[in-house]
Amino acid sequence: MYQILVFIEMLVASVIAGFIGALTGLGGGTVLVPIYTIMMGIPIIYAVGASLISTIATSSGSASAYVKEGITNIRIGISLEIATTFGAIVGSLTVVTIYRLGLAYIIYIIFGVVLLFSLYPTYKKISPRPWTPIRKPDKTTKIFNLYGEYYDEVRKTNVKYYGVRWWLGLIVMFMAGFISGLLGIGSGALKVLGMDAAMDLPIKVTTTTSNFMIGVTAATSSGIYWVNGYIQPFIAAPTAIGVLAGSLLGTRALVRMKGRNIRIIFLVILGVLGAEMIFRGLALMGWPI
C-alpha cells in the first residue's frame, strides 16, 4: 500500500514539475530533480535518469505543436545541434565518472548553480520584446543562411530577423549540451541564452527552437545513462507520463494567462530549490550546515 502511495506521489510531483516547467520555460527536469532528491529522497542517479527521459517526452510532445506553427527555425536548430550533441556526449561521460568516483555532491552543487543562473534568461523570456537588429549580418549569417521570419503578436505583423555570430552560439551550445548530459535536464535556459545573447535571435524564435533541440540533445545522453543503469523503470515511467501531461497542461494555461506575476513567483520558488540543492551538496561534501 505504501508503495502505491509513493507511486501516486511521484506522478503528482511530475505533473506539477511539468506544469511549472512549461509555465516558466525552464523545463520539467529542472523542477523535478530537486523535488525528487530533496523532498522525496530518491537517489540522484535515478532522479536524473527519469528526468532525462521526461525531457525527451516533453520536447517531442510539445514541439509538434510549435513546428506546425512555424516559429521554430529548424535550420538554426540543427546547425547548433552539432555542438549540443557533442556536449551531451562529453557531459554524460563526465557524470558517469563523477558517480563512479562517489562524488555525487558535485552534481547537487552544479545543479543548484545552474538552476540559479537559469533564472535570469528565463525571466527575460517571460517579458519578450519585439526584435530589432543589434549587429549587422556577418559572414556566418550568409554562410549558414540564418534568416527567418515570425509573426509578432505585439506588433501584429510579420517580423524578418537574422542571426549573427554562429560560432559563439556554437560554443554556448556545447556548454548547454554538456550541462544537459551532466544533469539530465534539457538546459533550455542555456540554449536560449546562446541564441538570444550570442546570436541576437528573437526570444520567441529561440524559445521554440531550443525546445526543438532539447529532445535531440537528451536522446544523445540517454544511451550512456542507459548502460550505466540510471533508468529505473518504476521511477522513470510515472515521471515521463506525469511531466508530459503537466507540460501539455502548462502550455495551454500559458496561452490563457496574461499576467507575468504568477510565473515570477514560481521563479522565486525555483530559486529557493536551487539554493537547497547547493546546501545539500555542501552538506554531503562534509560542510557543517
Partner: protein, 131 residues
C-alpha cells in the same frame, strides 16, 4: 500536394509519443495487476533503492519479456520508442535537405545524426565492455 517536412515531423513526433506513452502505461498496468514483473516482486521493483534498472535488466530481457507480459519490458520498450523520436526527426531533416539540394545543411544534419547514433549505439557497448 506539396511534401511538407514540418507536417511529417509533427506527425512522427505525435505518433512516437502516443505509442511510447501507451507502452509505458501498459507496462505499469501489468506490474500493478500482477503484483510484480516476471521473477521480481512488486516491493523489489518499487523500492527507491531498487537494483532493477537499465543496467541489470538487459536489452535481451526487454524483448523476451514482452511475450510473458513482463511490465518492465513494456516500460523499457516505451522508453526506447521515445528515444527514437528525436532520431527520426533528424533523419527526416536529412531527407528534406537532400530534397532541397541544400548541401551544407545536408552535411550538418548528417553529422548530428552521426553524433546521436555514436552515442546511442557505439559508446554504450564500449562502456559496458570497460566496466
Amino acid at each position: 500536394m506539396k511534401f511538407s517536412i514540418e507536417k511529417a515531423i509533427s506527425y512522427s513526433l505525435i505518433t512516437g509519443v502516443i505509442i511510447s506513452s501507451s507502452l509505458i502505461i501498459l507496462g505499469l498496468a501489468f506490474i500493478f495487476a500482477q503484483g510484480g514483473a516476471g521473477p521480481y516482486a512488486f516491493a523489489q521493483i518499487s523500492s527507491f533503492t531498487s537494483t532493477i534498472n537499465s543496467k541489470t535488466f538487459g536489452i535481451n530481457e526487454v524483448f523476451s519479456g514482452l511475450r510473458t507480459f513482463n511490465g518492465i519490458s513494456y516500460i523499457y520498450l516505451g522508453i526506447m520508442v521515445l528515444i527514437t523520436t528525436p532520431v527520426i526527426r533528424v533523419v527526416l531533416l536529412i531527407a528534406q535537405f537532400l530534397y532541397e539540394r541544400n548541401k551544407l545543411y545536408f552535411i550538418i544534419s548528417t553529422l548530428v545524426l552521426f553524433n546521436i547514433l555514436f552515442a546511442l549505439l557505439v559508446l554504450p557497448r564500449f562502456l559496458s565492455r570497460c566496466s
